[in-house]
């Protein structure tokens, strides 16, 4: 389990993370979304012991991460800006990983190279951006660590490869109980991948929830009545948003959909339809309910994240 307590990191005047608290359970795919500069990459670097927290701490399985090889041996990090040895190929990189990661599996490495159809002996500097990202993913997954951190990794992959990587992640989580932490500034990238999602905003997690729960407890209702009505008609329901145009109103309701359906049907609506919400919409409504506004661009978060 990854635990962050009052995690703070500053870069000069800029506070990239401020008193961040979170728990990432074992065996899940944890998505971290947020705008540019919200602190996602900084959080991952703290989780991987690259940065030393200025305040607070981050621990994995109870152990501090920074400069702690025994803990870091369980983690592998695929950053947004990839690193490969100069003039190397995948085989040379595999040698480097093998000498650093105790559980590195050569069999898996070759198997993944085959799956991704990447030549292990071809110089990496001849790879395209997407291929390099695939190469980094192959190496990371071959390290067979308990925790895998992907920093906007899916952004550079084509849909086929993205699905391939996602499939592999699912396998690792299911078969080995591995935990994956994935960041993206696009919620759509993560909604069908992650078990849990957190929104980072101005250096802190402002919202964190189980994806399945989010999708089932928040829904959109389109309704119309013959008589004049307003928001007060729906008292008793956990109404997050109410908009009305003419006689048709759109409602965002949190709660059990069956109970909600019964409650509205009893009011004899002319039109009544329950519509699915995208995860992005769910997030937006939940955030609005919490009082956050995203109209202004994020100014905090620093230039390093």
């Amino acid at each position: 389990m990854i635990k962050a307590r009052k995690l703070t990191k500053r870069f000069g005047e800029v506070e990239a993370l401020a008193n961040l608290n979170c728990n990432i359970p074992q065996g899940c795919i944890y998505g971290l979304v947020g705008a540019n500069g919200s602190g996602k990459s900084t959080f991952l670097r703290l989780c991987n012991g690259i940065y030393k927290p200025d305040e607070g701490n981050v621990s994995i399985n109870g152990g501090e991460v920074f400069d702690n090889p025994s803990v870091k041996a369980h983690c592998v990090f695929v950053p947004d800006d990839l690193y490969f040895l100069p003039q190397s190929n995948l085989l040379r990189m595999a040698l480097l990983y093998e000498s650093m990661y105790p559980c590195f599996s050569k069999e898996r490495f070759h198997e993944l190279c085959g799956t991704f159809k990447l030549s292990a002996s071809r110089p990496l500097n001849t790879f395209s951006k997407g291929m390099r990202r695939q190469a980094a993913t192959i190496l990371a997954l071959s390290a067979m660590t308990d925790y895998v951190f992907f920093d906007e990794t899916f952004d550079g992959l084509d849909p086929v490869m993205r699905n391939l990587v996602k499939g592999m992640l699912y396998d690792d989580v299911l078969e080995r109980g591995c935990t994956a932490v994935v960041t993206s500034h696009s919620l759509r990238e993560l909604e069908d991948t992650c078990d849990q999602l957190a929104l980072l905003y101005q250096g802190g997690i402002v919202f964190e929830s189980d994806v399945q729960n989010l999708k089932t407890t928040l829904f959109k209702v389109q309704v119309a009545f013959s008589q004049e009505y307003d928001r007060s008609l729906f008292e008793g329901l956990d109404l997050l948003a109410f908009t009305k145009q003419g006689s048709v109103a759109n409602l965002i309701i949190r709660g059990d959909s069956a109970a909600c359906k019964t409650a509205i049907t009893e009011k004899n609506p002319l039109i009544f339809e329950i519509l699915p919400l995208t995860l992005e919409e769910v997030f937006l409504y939940e955030m609005e309910a919490l009082g956050y506004s995203f109209e202004e661009p994020a100014v905090k978060g620093g230039n390093r994240a």
Binding site: Y51, L85, L95, M100
Partner: protein, 769 residues
């Protein structure tokens, strides 16, 4: 182990290139040296191991940059810091891998150099072989450690280099400036007289740099003590580098410093060396110099800040900090007088002096004379000598105070300047250059010491000799000159003569061209004793009878080119040369010329003709010269140093009436023959058509083949009784004519001493003292 092996693997890309370059350069340079046909002395350490010395700088720095390259790029830095290796382990794995490559390259190169020297039988100081690897590894480690520190606290290439220079060079540069400042203000000390903490060679890396401009410090630099100290220093610096590496924030990558204040500190440190130049005494503090140095200091500070900050407003904001190095430099400039005064006032009482030593005037050369080396080892405890040294010390200091320098005795005879070490009972050592008012007094006092009396008459152990007159002892040609060495050793032993001029007593009447002092040639010996290389040049004078005889025998045996017939033809045509380029030059060196004072003396006469010379001077000597040539051509070679004999060298060129060169067959022979010439001469002959000859000193010379016949390698020749009498008469007349024409070519004859006419008794050997 795995991270270490990974680092070895990672560094191999650059390290292998450096390895091959150094190895091949070492091999080629060693072969070039060893296969030279003319080697006359033992190579110095830097001559032998130059490629490895260059590698210790390049290798140390490049391996550090390559090993820690990831610290300069954010992605790379993040990657390495994300690996499951502690920072300490990561640092040491890179460091040990770099040192492994460093040591492997140094060892391989040193071994190949020693191998080439051994296989080709080229003499070298064996201890250099033992010292080379630790020395160069220590130097490489120091450079690597300095670069590691520099890279650990910065995050861009330019700041890496700047900080490496600061860490490696600044402390030593400050020390160097202080040392130079003291020496510039106190002329009684040299670079080798500084206390250990001011000697700029204990750190072998910076010491090596200093010796590029101060060659004399090589005598102190190449030692196991310095190598050991440097390894310790490097180890300490590596510990500091490790500590900084562990504490280094990964986010420093791509940034020059952790903060603007630290950045300003770096700029101040970079500007500081310029600001302190006045302290060194290299630049005098005139107004214009002050303005220039101040401008350069501020410019350097500003340029660095502009390059790294890229923000002129911020640079301007920090500009006042440039005054800090300037202020410190002013403090140093005035503060330097404190150690200078301390050195001046360091005059001990005689009862506190344990002994004095005389390191020798040539101590700055790694290739000094053997006797001087022996003298430098002696500890003199004689009270009179100590008193004379202390009196001279006080006198010298007083003179400095009065005149600002001690070069005040140059007009006096037999003064001598010698480095002296005064060692006190408490172990304190005072090293000074002292002018002694009388070298005779000094030598007399020193001669009270038996060890000294033996040392000044000592010749190098014969088994330590590696070259004589340029001939390698392994070379068969050495056999031809070895009898001269044997004879000289025997003569010195039996006569007790002191070969080195400076250790002899001198008088106003001494004459180095008369009697036993007449010189036939010189004997060059080169070799080594322990770490000490020696290069001795002994005059072969008549007083060493057997050596003179051996010399004459060897010279006569080498003689192949007197060409008297050609000489006579050219000489006969000298008054009417057909070409403006024709010429004749003859030098007649007469030994044992009887003088009216009763002594036998060396006399030299010169006769030169060319069509452009319209004076009557040389033409007046023509009859004498022609007659001398005639007599010499019928004289016989001699090996008797006591005989009245001549050694005539000549060169000439003349075109005959038919347009051909006189002596054309000889010219062709000179241009194509390799007779008794060295390999080098053969190379020259085949490539350029030049001629190589042996001078009387046994050294080869080169002569461009322009139709000139040369005879610089003749025999010593003696005359029949009748011819001898005539030659003496000719010489008398020649001298008289010289006097008449106010020709002062030779000054051996004074008003009172003229060439005599009677035979004198044979000389007596110099008595053993």
């Amino acid at each position: 182990m795995k991270p270490y092996l990974e680092s070895v693997r990672r560094l191999s890309r650059v390290a292998l290139i450096l390895f091959v370059l150094t190895f091949v350069a070492s091999l080629i340079m060693a072969m070039q040296y060893c296969m030279r046909s003319y080697v006359s002395s033992i190579p110095s350490f830097s001559q032998m191991f130059l490629p490895v010395i260059i590698y210790m700088f390049a290798g140390g720095f490049i391996l550090a940059l390559d090993g820690f390259f990831f610290l300069n790029k954010r992605a790379d830095s993040d990657y390495y810091h994300s690996l499951p290796v502690s920072r300490k382990r990561l640092f040491w794995s890179v460091t040990l891998a770099a040192l492994t490559w460093l040591a492997a390259t140094v060892l391989a190169s040193v071994i190949v150099i020693l191998g080439v020297y051994t296989i080709t039988h080229t003499a070298f100081v064996p201890n250099y072989g033992l010292l080379a690897a630790p020395f160069c590894i220590a130097g490489g480690m120091l450079v690597f450690a300095a670069a590691s520190i520099g890279i650990s606290i910065t995050g861009t290439w330019i700041s890496n280099i700047a900080l490496t220079l600061i860490v490696l060079g600044l402390p030593r540069f400050i020390q160097f400036v202080v040392s130079r400042g003291i020496l510039a203000r106190f002329g009684m000390m040299g670079w080798l007289d500084l206390p250990w903490y001011l000697t700029p060679v204990t750190n072998v890396a910076t010491g090596q740099i200093v010796t590029f401009t101060h060659n004399l410090l090589q005598t102190q630099l190449y030692s196991m003590v310095n190598a050991g100290y440097s390894i310790l220093l490097a180890a300490l610096e590596l510990l500091v580098a490790c500590m900084l590496f562990v504490r280094r924030p990964s986010e420093l990558a791509e940034h020059n410093a952790r903060s603007a204040n630290i950045q300003t500190l770096y700029a101040c440190l970079l500007a500081f060396p310029i600001a302190i130049l006045f302290t060194s005494g290299a630049i005098s503090p005139t107004l214009i110099n002050v303005l220039i140095v101040t401008a350069v200091t501020i410019a350097l500070y500003a340029i660095y800040q502009i390059v790294v900050l890229r923000n002129s407003k911020r640079v301007l904001h920090t500009l006042p900090w440039a005054l800090v190095p300037a202020a410190l430099a002013v403090a140093m400039f005035f503060g330097i007088q404190i150690p200078v005064n301390a050195a001046k006032n360091d005059i001990p009482l005689i009862q506190d002096v344990a002994y004095v030593q005389f390191p020798g005037s040539n101590r700055t050369s790694g290739n000094r004379s053997y006797d001087e080396y022996l003298v430098s080892q002696i500890k003199f405890t004689d009270q009179d000598l100590k008193d004379y040294v202390l009196t001279s010390l006080r006198d010298n200091v007083a003179t400095i105070d009065r005149y600002g320098n001690v070069n005040y005795r140059t007009e006096e005879n037999y003064t001598t300047l010698e480095p002296v070490s005064i060692v006190l009972n408490n172990g304190h050592k005072i090293k000074r250059f002292l002018w002694f008012s009388s070298s005779n007094t000094l030598n007399t006092l020193r001669n009270e010491n038996e060890e000294y009396a033996k040392a000044i008459r000592a010749l190098p152990p014969e088994d330590s000799i590696r070259y004589q007159q340029g001939f390698d002892v392994y070379d068969a040609k050495y056999q031809t000159v070895e009898p001269i060495v044997q004879a000289y050793y025997s003569d010195i032993e039996t006569t007790g003569l002191i070969p080195n001029w400076s250790y002899n007593q001198h008088s106003e009447t001494e004459d180095y061209s008369a009697e036993g002092k007449q010189s036939f040639g010189s004997l060059t010996l080169a070799g080594y004793v322990g770490n000490q290389r020696y290069y001795d040049n002994y005059d072969i004078r008549r007083e060493t009878q057997n050596a003179s005889k051996a010399w004459m025998t060897w010279q006569n045996s080498q003689s192949t080119d007197e060409y008297f017939d050609v000489l006579k033809q050219i000489s006969a045509q000298a008054s009417s040369f057909l070409s403006k380029s024709d010429s004749l030059n003859c030098t007649f060196s007469f030994y044992n010329v009887p003088m009216s004072s009763g002594v036998r003396q060396y006399n030299e006469f010169y006769y030169g003709r060319n069509p452009m010379d319209t004076t009557i001077l040389n033409s007046s000597f023509e009859p004498y010269a022609n007659e001398l040539i005639d007599i010499i051509s019928r004289s016989e070679p001699t090996t008797d140093p006591n005989s009245f004999c001549v050694f005539m060298t000549w060169s000439g060129r003349a075109i005959d009436k038919d347009g051909s060169y006189i002596g054309e067959d000889v010219i062709k022979k000179q241009a194509t023959s390799g007779n008794s010439l060295s390999t080098a001469s053969n190379m020259l002959l085949s490539s350029w058509g030049d001629v190589v000859y042996y001078t009387s000193g046994g050294n080869p010379g080169y002569y461009s083949n322009d139709g000139t016949v040369v005879s610089f390698n003749p025999c010593y020749r003696a005359f029949s009784a009748e011819d001898e009498a005539r030659v003496i008469e000719i010489l008398k007349d020649w001298k008289a004519l010289q006097k008449e024409l106010q020709f002062n070519y030779s000054d051996v004859e004074s008003e009172d001493t003229i060439i005599g006419s009677s035979a004198l008794p044979a000389p007596t050997p110099t008595p053993v003292p």
